[in-house]
Structures are given as C-alpha cells and as structure tokens.
C-alpha cells in the first residue's frame, strides 16, 4: 500500500492511475497473479481495498488537522471510486457466472466483501473536515517525565477478572466463539 506524503491532487491522481493500471494489466492477462480467474478476482479485491484505504488515510489526515481539505482532490477520489466500483462490479458479475452449484471461487467472496466496503463508502460519502472532538487535532504533549508517570499508572490498571463475561447476549455468543478459535 502506498504511503502518501501530501495527498495533493498530483499524488492522488498518480495513486488512482496506478490502481487502474493494476487491473488493466490483469484484464490483459499480464503477470502470474492474473493467470486464472481466481487470481484476477483477487487482484480486483486488492485494488478495491487499497482504494478504500487511500480514501481513509486522506480523510483521516484532514480530520486530524494534518492537511487541509481540497475539493479538487475530493472530486478525484469520488470519480475514481465510482469508476473502480463499476469495473469491479463487472468482474464480480463475470465471476458469478463461472460459479456452479457446490463450487465457489474463494476470491469471489473476497471481491464481494471489498465491493460492499467500497459501495458503503461511496453511498455514505462524508466530506472530511477537521475534528471538533477533544484530543484529535490538538494532541496533548507530555513531557518525558509525564509520559513515564502516565504509562506507569496505565501499567498498574487492573485487567478484567479471569472469569469476566460480557453482559449482552450477542456479546456472550461472540465471546464463546472467540474462545473456541483461540489456539490451546
């Protein structure tokens, strides 16, 4: 995943162009990863996730006051997201035609999940702005001594008891599931 420096228009444009190039190379059958349908679906899923992660990083940088909002950058993200969603949906639909009863493509599920995430992001799109909540933009700065005192206090906080159980029924169900999944 690319590390952004400024999230300016040039950087975001370069990022989205790079993502489209990855799926275009896949469509052209280039590279080993896209040698078969599973690989192509996986590539599309990865690109959708990388796009959503890129938007998340940009929005977070504005929310925390690290960068300023630029409407041209937002427009680039939104247009790029719609285009990517359209292409990835076509690939997903094609994958669905290749599944037969009792045989599913694993990467089809991954692409489906990535598409749901991308669809939600585009449908609920919120224009980022600086946070108003405490401790987000103006982070408290601790002196080394204050930091050490705070961490000592935090280390002394008691854990939950060994027989802890959540209160909610659904939470209890999830807790039992997590305990079963934990390696012995």
């Amino acid at each position: 995943m690319k590390t952004f420096k400024t999230y300016d228009l040039a950087e975001v444009r370069s990022f989205t162009v790079g993502l489209y190039a990855r799926i275009t190379r896949c469509d052209n059958g280039e590279g080993d990863e896209c040698a078969n349908l599973e690989g192509a679906l996986r590539r599309y899923a990865g690109v959708c996730c990388d796009f959503a992660d890129g938007v998340r990083g940009w929005a977070r940088a504005i929310f925390t006051g690290q960068i300023e909002f630029d409407p041209t950058v937002e427009k680039r993200w939104k247009e790029g997201g719609l285009d990517l969603f359209s292409r990835a949906t076509e690939m997903y639909a094609y994958g669905a035609t290749r599944e037969v009863p009792c045989y599913t493509l694993e990467a089809q599920n991954a692409l489906g999940s990535a598409l749901r995430r991308l669809e939600r992001l585009l449908r609920l799109w919120v224009t980022p702005k600086p946070a108003v909540g405490a401790g987000v933009r103006s982070r408290p700065v601790l002196s080394p001594q204050e930091a050490e005192e705070a961490r000592a206090k935090i280390r002394s906080l008691p854990p939950l008891p060994a027989d802890w159980q959540p209160v909610g029924r659904n939470q209890q169900r999830m807790f039992r599931l997590f305990k079963r999944q934990r390696p012995s």
């Binding site: 929310f63 919120v126 405490a134 982070r139 209160v167 909610g168 939470q171 997590f178």
Partner: protein, 179 residues
Amino acid sequence: MSERLHTPLAPFLIDYDTPEYAAIAGWPYEGDDAYVTRLLRDDIPQRLVHGNCRMWGFLNPEGDLTGFGTLDVGDECAAYTGGVDHPYIPLLGKKPNSTGRGYCESITRYLVDEAALMVSHEKDIHPELYLDVYVTNLVAIHIYGKLKFEIVSPAPIAHAEENGRLYHVMAKRVEIAGS
C-alpha cells in the same frame, strides 16, 4: 452489598444513513452538553464512514430509543500507548430529560464489553480503552469511576476547539487476566 442491576437496554447497530441516527442527532442537547450535537454533526459521521467506528442505539424496556454509544479504534491517546492504536469512546449519551435510570452506566458497560471482545480477538490493539471527559461533568466521571476507569492525564487538558474547556483522559484495561 448487593450488586445494582443495570437497566436492561437493547442495543442495535446504527449507520450514518439511518432514521435512528437522524433522530439522535436531533435530540436537544443544550448548555454544557451542546458539544454532543456538534460531535454528532461533524465528527461521528466521519468516524463511521471513513474510520473504524461503530455506533449503537439503545432501546429502553418500553421500546423507545433512549441512548447511543460509539466505539472506535485509533491513535487519539497515542501519547499514553507508545503510539499503538487503542479502543476509544468518542461519544455516548442518553436522550435529554430521561433521567435517573442508569442508562449511561449501562451504555458504558456495553461499550467496555465490546472493547474487551475486540482486544481479546485482535492482537494489534493496545489493551486499554480510552475516553475524554470534561472536568465539570461530574456525573460522567462518577459513572466511569464506578466502571473502574481512572484518570491517566497528568493534569486537565484544554480543549482548544471548545474555548479551552478542560478535560481529563480516562482509561480502563480491557484485557482479561491470564489471557
């Protein structure tokens, strides 16, 4: 001493585009609580859509929407976690003018349990749950204290975006002993 029973509230997940979110955002928070309206308008939508935040509505035994809570994962308190992401409560609250029935304590307990589940399942998250509380919000500080949150900020911090209003950072360890 007998344990006080929490008011039985029924939680359900809320997303930004639901009527329940609109209802909560329209609750009349005034005076010292007006910041709740600002967070619901400006911050929580961003946390829900662009971040890791989840939001729950809570129904009282009569089936009325009576409160809400949010839980995120981020680095707001990285100064205390050595830079590691941690669970964080951006905001919780009950419907104004509904009083004295333990709603906020129940909501907070639910969020603590969610954070504990998260920490038990995902190993890259710091095992303390953090929140901010204004020093004048004695009711909230009392509730959090009952649930074993402790103040970890060395001194009250000025919230620049709220005219320098002072707040504490509180934390509670949510990993299970022996895990």
